[in-house]
Symmetry: C2
Subunit: 376 residues, 2 copies
Amino acid sequence: MDYKKESIKLHRLYKGKIRLSIKTKVENKQDLSLIYTPGVAEAVKLIAKNKNEALELTNKANQVAIVTDGSAILGLGDLGPEAALPVMEGKSVLFKKFADIDAIPICLNTKDSNEIIKTVKNISPIFSGINLEDISAPRCFEIEKRLQQELDIPVFHDDQHGTAIVILAGLINSLKLLKKKFKECKIVINGAGAAGIATSILLNEMSPKDIIVLDSKGIVSKKRIDLNFKKKEILKFTNQNNINGNLEDAIKKADIFIGVSKPNVLTLSMIKKMNDPIVFALANPDPEITYLEAKKSGVKIIATGRSDFPNQINNALVFPALFRGLLDNKIKRVTTRIKLNAAKALADSVKDLNKDKIIPSIFDNNYIKNIVESVK
Amino acid sequence: MDYKKESIKLHRLYKGKIRLSIKTKVENKQDLSLIYTPGVAEAVKLIAKNKNEALELTNKANQVAIVTDGSAILGLGDLGPEAALPVMEGKSVLFKKFADIDAIPICLNTKDSNEIIKTVKNISPIFSGINLEDISAPRCFEIEKRLQQELDIPVFHDDQHGTAIVILAGLINSLKLLKKKFKECKIVINGAGAAGIATSILLNEMSPKDIIVLDSKGIVSKKRIDLNFKKKEILKFTNQNNINGNLEDAIKKADIFIGVSKPNVLTLSMIKKMNDPIVFALANPDPEITYLEAKKSGVKIIATGRSDFPNQINNALVFPALFRGLLDNKIKRVTTRIKLNAAKALADSVKDLNKDKIIPSIFDNNYIKNIVESVK
């Protein structure tokens, strides 16, 4: 199948992928008098007295905003809010299909952090959660942090935490298979954007031996004078021996390589320097090393972001179920504990654990229910 | 039926009235690869090259935002954005039911005009129209005007223009029945909020003999020093003899009374001073004079905003079909001509014209199609 051609055909045929529907019956004037004037005034008055009634009398309790500024769409970059909409609609479909959540795309015509924060706060009253999406680093960090401080609904930047949770789940199972522990592992993360930074922070919770993060200029180290505030922040717990250099230098004796960077940067000679290599090559659609090359090079476990090879590290495994849990329990923020529990629930959902099945596939049973139940 | 109790019951049972649905099939990994990554990247790229492709490849062409700040909800006043949601959802149901439009409620947590304008502009890229709703006067006038100037999609404040269009349609048919012409008519409009002001402006297009507008302080006249900019603006064409006073003074020899004010302000003695009175008593749920009292007092034609009496002047007759026409023809602003044509199309849709049927009922046939076709 030529998926590029077929995808355009599908988008053109349906003119997008989501629409609104009516929940109630609307067949006569009496129906209208209940759902609209004059009857609706009663619901208005109850909510005016007690805002929480909006969770009972409107769709708010099931409503999430997927917010983007179109500045980091997939791996394609800053293409603007209109171009982001197909991804946001796709995301909305996943929310609906896997967790029955009504997730409304909001594509913003501004890239100013303050204005994004203000706009999201302004539209927030009818949502029970905010999923930030495809907002470029390092702005995404501050936008998420400040929104979470100022709103009493969960704010979750999926490119950061969704990715980090699925990676952690995959690593938990990989280490189980190789009978290794996090505290014995040196982890190299290639890429210091939203996903790389968040993954380093979440993996640090597992107390690995060391984490080395690299950006396009090389190893993130104290010597560097070009680091943004977030890269400086992770220096508190990464690169404990304060080494400098490039991926060649970082990879020596590493146990785990996580690529959230670009195609073909992980070479055969680098893999040879690793211990029982676990390689998550997640650049999409072309990974840091292909599945087949990695297999040939003697990697113990290989995962990619692709659906056409085993072990797909796919955000979509987490965000629908995680938000379902957040909404069902009226949780106001996504704590580290919640993320760790979701990763464990996802890892534990694999029944026939083996090197080519370290993570559930998206249409598998149980993992959704397990993640939802993990959220408390 | 106790519609208050039944309405709350319905809202509680369904938890609101709208939800999202998926347009496409999502049953396997291949479906996902078309609607989400990697296939979706092709739609993204096409839109990045040409923004107009969003109208073909996403739901944008059928998507309208219903924007409120909750400052003038129904007749209930400023009750906040959460309390506005039941009305916005009801409105969204009407958009869907009568014109298959996806109208997304946006309830804003600010009443600052500049911030409302900025926020709406920020979220505008994925919408093909903006329906402003339940925003108090006089802020609504400036917000609508500036948004229409700065956006290239139609911006329509329904409380103003929707009301004005249906009133005009009702008057066209009323005058037809009484064999009178607009140019012979003195029109009194009681109420100078969003609806009253917009109605005076639209009715002026029919060149009536005179229009007198009143607010809560009395007749809007040049002598008044307490008028907002919009009330001053309508002085250019209203109150041509520059009279002062109250409704008693204004109503003398009037042919048409339009109430968009409050209950029971139109008395029997006032009606006696009118010529072949046409009375549109539209305060809701309790009109300026009840249908039964008006009938007794010798009024020739009486209309109210209520669904339980004949001649319901109901915004819902217009906005769904009007927006359908705007979207189908990719029209960028709602001109006076479009409003006049919609009113005529609505008036002409009444088949069995008589004093108790001056306007279609919402479930009638044809009027929707006629309004849609009038929009060019």
